[in-house]
Subunit: 520 residues, 2 copies
């Protein structure tokens, strides 16, 4: 499973992380006043805070039009568009290489109604895409934002091509949980579910960045484009606080680089694009509202919520902090694994087994600690091939139930009902695709662990932004001079609608923030 690897940074990254974290924590650990003092503009008197200061009272170490914090997908898009509009840009990047969580992504961007779909004869449109997103995202989602995203989907696709991102390959007419070499399009969300098909014609929308078919398929060309644009990138530069003037306008960033704390002036605006808070475990626990905790974070170590915290410090509002992609990858093992049934601690099914993994994962943690995939002997070899090891085995369903501490009568009734459904080939409970509704009647039976601890998570909540990507304060007003893009910002607040949605959000929000900041 490719994603799991993301949480195991290489030794080199780890030591970088320790170094950087040391720096950041030293600032935070001494408390509010200590933090302010550490970020006091150089040369200013000791008790001068970095908020509410006259611009001419600060000793600036560097000056530009736009400071972008974070050199991942969103930061790249912002820098490219700001440069295109003629603004000077400095990017502050905590790592020594850039890439952020974009470089770790599965190589997918979720787009609907694109020329690529048309070329391959796939019926889709901005409207069809919007209908799908609206249903998946749920009732709290910002419809205006979804509309804009659907309308811009084609533009964003074309923009990707302009940056040199390559979507060549064949269409996969099946679930595509992660980018695959040679594939250009696949079903990476819940398009084929019974619920989705009520409102939108299913279309593969996961566009794969080749030839890597990983996040590097995006970041490699983006990095080249940023470098070619004339934007200046400072690596190993950790932003620590925002500097505001007497009117509350953001006028710069205090950052640690070149061995010291520096003040970087932004004559137009600051764009925060440093990612979510997936790697900040305390923050995650402060906001996740589930019955069980999800398993492992999928993140880059610098995605520690610091962009969110810096803006909160000057009054920014938060939105959708509980919105989290919680993934589960049963269906990724092999399509035929979906012939089994997923049951909770009570021995009950709770989902169509072929639904989008991020929806299944959320259902698991909402219901409790434990869940199991139950299969008959007919699927054992498939599971073996996928290197899956059962946690229990039973000659009968009752025996298997006892082995996993699930009520035997309950599981037996669940299986009996499922086998009744298999006879008609119709999953009348959850609408699993008929080809996967296969009787569970070949002993021995096996249980595979699908528990909460085996899910993975990525945060989606963050700074409240408006349609122009301005950061909004707690009273609903724009914080002048401040934009946010990518996973540190939240405009939509709705359930993650398909793998590649984050990349879509990064490019949508980054492009707009860059353009708008340049126009200040």
């Amino acid at each position: 499973m490719k994603e799991r690897d993301m949480v195991h940074p290489t030794d080199r990254e780890l030591s970088r992380r320790s170094f950087l974290k040391g720096t950041v924590l030293a600032g935070a650990g001494v408390g509010a006043m200590g933090a302010l003092a550490a970020c006091a503009p150089s040369g200013a008197k000791d008790d001068l805070a970095s908020t509410g200061v006259a611009a001419d009272s600060v000793t600036w170490d560097k000056e530009t039009d736009i400071v972008v914090v974070g050199f991942g997908g969103a930061g790249s898009a912002a820098a490219i568009e700001a440069r295109k509009a003629g603004a000077e840009v400095v990017i502050l990047e905590a790592s020594s290489v850039g890439g952020g969580s974009t470089a770790l992504n599965g190589g997918l961007i979720y787009l609907g109604g694109t020329p690529l779909q048309k070329e391959h004869g796939i019926e889709d449109s901005a409207e069809n895409f919007l209908n799908y997103m609206m249903q998946m995202a749920g009732p709290s989602a910002n419809v205006d934002a979804l509309k804009l995203i659907a309308e811009q989907s084609e533009d964003i696709y074309n923009w990707c091509l302009e940056q040199g991102i390559d979507f060549s390959g064949e269409v996969l007419e099946a679930h595509l949980p992660d980018g695959e070499e040679g594939i250009c399009l696949g079903y990476t969300g819940n398009e084929l579910s019974r619920e989705a098909q009520k409102v939108a014609t299913p279309a593969p929308r996961g566009h794969v960045a080749q030839p890597e078919a990983t996040g590097m398929g995006f970041f490699r060309p983006l990095k080249a484009a940023v470098e070619g644009s004339g934007a200046e990138v400072l690596y190993e530069a950790v932003a620590t606080s925002l500097i505001t003037d007497e009117n509350g306008r953001v006028i710069g960033v205090c950052a640690d680089y070149d061995g010291g704390s520096k003040n970087v002036k932004a004559n137009k605006a600051v764009i925060l694009a440093g990612g979510g808070f997936t790697s900040n475990e305390e923050k995650v626990r402060d906001h996740l509202p589930y019955k069980a905790n999800p398993g492992w974070p999928v993140t880059n170590p610098n995605e520690d919520g610091s962009c969110i915290q810096m803006a909160q410090k000057i009054g920014a509002d938060l939105k959708g902090m509980s919105e989290t992609q919680i993934g589960f990858s049963v269906y990724t093992i092999n399509d035929r694994a979906c012939e089994g049934i997923l049951v909770d601690e009570n021995g009950l099914r709770f989902t169509a087994e072929d639904e989008y993994g991020a929806f299944i994962g959320k259902r698991i943690v909402q219901r409790g600690e434990h869940a199991y995939l139950i299969v008959g002997n007919n699927l054992k070899s498939i599971m073996d091939e996928a290197e899956q090891t059962p946690v229990a085995e039973g000659a009968t369903i009752q025996e298997l139930a006892a082995a996993i501490s699930v009520d035997a009568d309950s599981l037996a009734h669940t299986v009996a009902t499922y086998n009744d459904m298999a006879e008609g080939g119709i999953d009348f409970q959850f609408g699993k695709e008929p080809k996967h509704v296969v009787a569970l009647n070949e002993a021995p039976f096996y249980a595979y662990d699908a528990s909460a601890e085996n899910t993975y998570y990525m945060t989606q909540g963050g700074l409240r932004v408006d349609l122009d990507l301005h950061v909004i304060d707690s009273e609903g007003a724009v914080i002048p001079g401040l934009y946010a893009a990518g996973l540190c910002s939240n405009l939509i607040f709705g359930q993650y609608f398909g793998s590649g949605s984050s990349m879509l959000w990064c490019f949508f929000s980054g492009r707009a923030a860059g353009t708008n900041a340049a126009a200040e």
Copy 2:
């Protein structure tokens, strides 16, 4: 249903609300700078913000030791304890009468291991109470906070008696969803559920404030105690912003009263106790992570999130903003209604029907828009007596299913399994109490609407506080001079464990904030 009435303020309250909202919104509507200007300390130059100012540069209209914002349960507890410790106190209360959401509560406080339980021969203890809370609250809950609350449960009970709160009456050995006259104790949470009984001996913990058996059973004596304490209460006084000095310390509150904007100096501290954000629909939608939106807010109109917003404006962090009590009152109709089955849109059971309404409500909105209580003709008269009107009727389960757009095969299988369970008297799916597991086999069958729109909600998330009730900023540091108590604060972040939990939190947090603020 008593709670439903809470959302229909009297005309008098409505006009108060319109008046007050008009004031508040006028400030917010003009944007950040406008809001700052409106709250500029009187006599100060126009462009001076109310943050980061020298105390002696402000013209103070009033001065005291401690300013408490909000005169509900938490504000009362804070004021009483601060006065007891010798501090001067001014309470700013938006309404003309006080009471907040405390006055609207069901007349319950949730406590474990109290002398009252002992008097009535009920076996419970701080430890047993803690075990229950830990399991119910879930894996993200702050265990240190729960421990403190369990330990202080007896103290809080005794404190209630000192304030003149009256818990006389008889024990009800059944679910007690709301205070009842003549009853002193009842099961107001999920104590009797299969899950809870694994970790804690069930005990009735909902203590009823008599003789009103409503929130006035708390607020009437508290109001008298506050008035008797020498605290000054300013009614129709709406706090609009916090005033901080050059070191970031909170030194006062800007408030609208007596026809103008006034600066009230707090020599020791400000305690925010103005309630959650239940009546702020935009904020609620910004944070609720469910598949369907819950129905109606249970709130007082001033519970608009303004305390949370004021503190955010000076950098306060948020915690558990998605934590919301989402109630459903099927089991409140009549215990026998639990003999029916609750099913979702897919025709599947999803809960023991006799569980705590706030857990059932959350499960409903997690699963989708629609849910139904299905009963046979044997229960029709019970439902009639409770003035419940079915949304559909069918001579067979299949006919009923069709009438509510639920798959007929699915519902028929669910009922068949349930009837199998009724034969053995054991709900092996969810562990409903055996006396409620009664076969559903007497036609005609009826469906009652248990959909998301019929749930009610109250927000629980708010300002991040520490065990001393200091408000914490985005970097984890204490904001000096600022405390929060009651529903605008969040320390625990866990599922609401029983009706009366909010009252417990208000008294626990209010008392501690008052004592700690007085010691500054």
